[in-house]
């Protein structure tokens, strides 16, 4: 028995060394990872690599370009589609085959303009904002501020709804402050996603801080809305994210960031293999010296079923909507 124990310990050490060494050799480009499975199940190899601040735009631009070329749509429409499918290219291709292009786009909230306009603009990587169509009158009434404005002071979105630029700017500002990445049309019941270039241009003129936040939120959506990517939980934040490919479904997976932090991919807690996430969470809550804080949280909040963040409800209607988009009780 004693001899067996020593052997197991030695094997574990050896595996750990193997795990760390290739990561450093690659210079932070990739990391091996440890997958904990039941003893009966075979181990599945999973690819894992780091996303740096510099490579984040290029990585998502690659996905955006692929979708734009496949479906002849603009960048903001491709982004809306990818966010809707959590940046899973296979999911988009599957829906494309089963539902067809137009229905898939409609479900996402993407509205395609007239066929001729689409063909003209579809091929451009950064499609310019279409100029508003000619109008019989020189002034237009904006139905948000009820003012008459000249036709050059209004903007029209893909869905054809037209409001003055001041109202669009305030709408974009309110949406950015509310934490939304996909800004939708102002019209009643219209779910069309607004052109992010128009949003950037109008916000940049009056609220440059909000324009920067919108740009950052769009970049960060590649990690936050991606089922296969997580931010590194190190403090202070090293700015990197870790992406894992292969192996869907729920598994207990430990990943390492080039900055040295090792964490569980499922719950972003420190690596706790072979303990399941839920058990580890209870253990951590029990061990912390914040039992009164935990008691308050348990008594006053509920966890979002999607992202597990605790949410406190005070006042108002019984419906609660989490930032990640899931609607609660």
């Amino acid at each position: 028995m004693s001899s067996d124990d020593e052997e197991c310990f030695y094997d574990y050490e050896e595996e750990e060394e193997e795990e760390e060494e290739p990561g450093w050799d690659d210079g932070g480009g990739g990391d091996t990872m440890l997958v904990e499975e039941e003893a009966a199940l075979p181990e599945r190899p999973v690819d894992c690599w780091a996303i740096t601040e510099e490579s984040l735009p290029a990585a998502q631009q690659q996905d955006l370009s692929m979708v734009m070329n496949l479906l002849y749509i603009k960048q903001h429409q491709a982004r809306a589609l990818l966010i809707h499918h959590r940046w899973k290219m296979e999911s988009i291709l599957d829906h494309f085959d089963r539902k067809g292009r137009d229905r898939m786009l409609r479900e996402t909230g993407v509205v395609i303009q007239q066929q001729a306009e689409e063909k003209n603009g579809g091929g451009m990587a950064m499609a310019a904002s279409p100029s508003p169509p000619p109008r019989p009158r020189s002034s237009v009434t904006c139905y948000v501020c009820f003012e008459d404005v000249s036709s050059d002071a209004v903007s029209t979105m893909d869905c054809g709804h037209c409001f003055c630029n001041d109202c669009w700017t305030e709408h974009f500002f309110a949406c950015v402050n509310g934490g939304q990445k996909q800004i939708r049309c102002m019209a009643v019941g219209c779910a069309a996603v607004c052109d992010e270039d128009v949003a950037q241009r109008l916000l940049g003129g009056r609220y440059p801080g909000a324009a920067r936040r919108l740009r950052g939120a769009l970049l960060a959506s590649y990690v936050e809305d991606n089922a296969a990517a997580r931010w590194c939980p190190s403090a202070p934040h090293c700015g990197r994210a870790v992406r894992v490919d292969g192996g869907g479904g729920r598994w207990c997976c430990e990943v390492s960031c080039p900055c040295g932090a090792s964490f569980c991919f499922g719950c972003a807690a420190p690596a706790h293999s072979p303990c399941p996430c839920a058990m580890w969470e209870r253990w951590e809550a029990k061990c912390r010296g914040e039992s009164m804080n935990v008691d308050w949280i348990l008594a006053n909040t509920k966890s979002c079923p999607k992202c597990s963040k605790p949410i406190e409800k005070n006042g108002g209607c019984n419906h609660v909507r989490c930032k990640c988009g899931q609607c609660l009780w």
Binding site: V144, E147, H171, F173, A187, V188, G315, N318
Partner: protein, 195 residues
């Protein structure tokens, strides 16, 4: 911060055809333009018919790009309106708000909500339960609450004033308190005793 020009236009537009639409908006006791009071008439053919419901409206700084905060002041027995505090469960006042909506359309939507409750999506679980299982009692209770809280006939008001004056309270104070509680005699008595 509130778009004053738009709100003024909304007030004008809403009060222009108040007789036909049954909704109206006014400043709340000479308050600023961000605190308003709306009234809607109970829809015909419903237990709320004949009632006048007062709604507190507060406009956030980001209005019209953020939804207005509305709350029933008049007590109402409805599955989607809290019978305790008047909180309203209506999607266009929350995530489905659009800047192209107006206070008038919001009040008209509340009127429509009175006509067509959504008990599967309740704000007040007790009322929703009664609505689904014992509609006749729900209807009778809603009608009674409308009679008791939402009708403001002058005869009833005068009787209430006389009753409270006979208890020894000054008439001016009685009238102002009754007005502030929208004619609820019991609530007025509580306020007069505590005040």
């Amino acid at each position: 911060m509130v778009d004053v020009s738009r709100v003024q236009k909304e007030l004008t537009e809403c009060n222009r055809d108040r007789e036909v639409s049954g909704v109206s908006i006014a400043l709340h006791d000479g308050s600023t333009i961000s605190h308003l009071t709306g009234t809607i008439a109970g829809p015909q053919g419903t237990p709320y018919e004949g009632g006048t419901f007062v709604i507190d409206i507060r406009l956030p700084g980001g209005y019209p790009f953020e939804p207005p905060k509305m709350q029933f002041i008049t007590k109402v027995w409805h599955p989607n309106i809290s019978s305790q505090n008047g909180a309203i469960c209506l999607d266009i006042l929350k995530d489905q708000w659009s800047p192209a909506l107006t206070l008038k359309t919001a009040l008209l939507s509340l009127q429509a909500l009175l006509s067509a409750p959504a008990p599967d999506d309740p704000q007040d679980a007790v009322v929703a339960q009664q609505y689904l299982r014992d509609y006749s009692t729900f209807s009778a209770t809603a009608r009674y609450w409308t009679e008791a809280f939402a009708k403001n006939s002058s005869t009833g008001m005068e009787e209430k004033v006389q009753k409270l004056v006979e208890m020894g309270f000054p008439e001016d104070m009685v009238r102002s308190v009754l007005k502030s509680v929208n004619g609820d005699e019991n609530m007025a008595l509580e306020k007069l005793c505590s005040g």
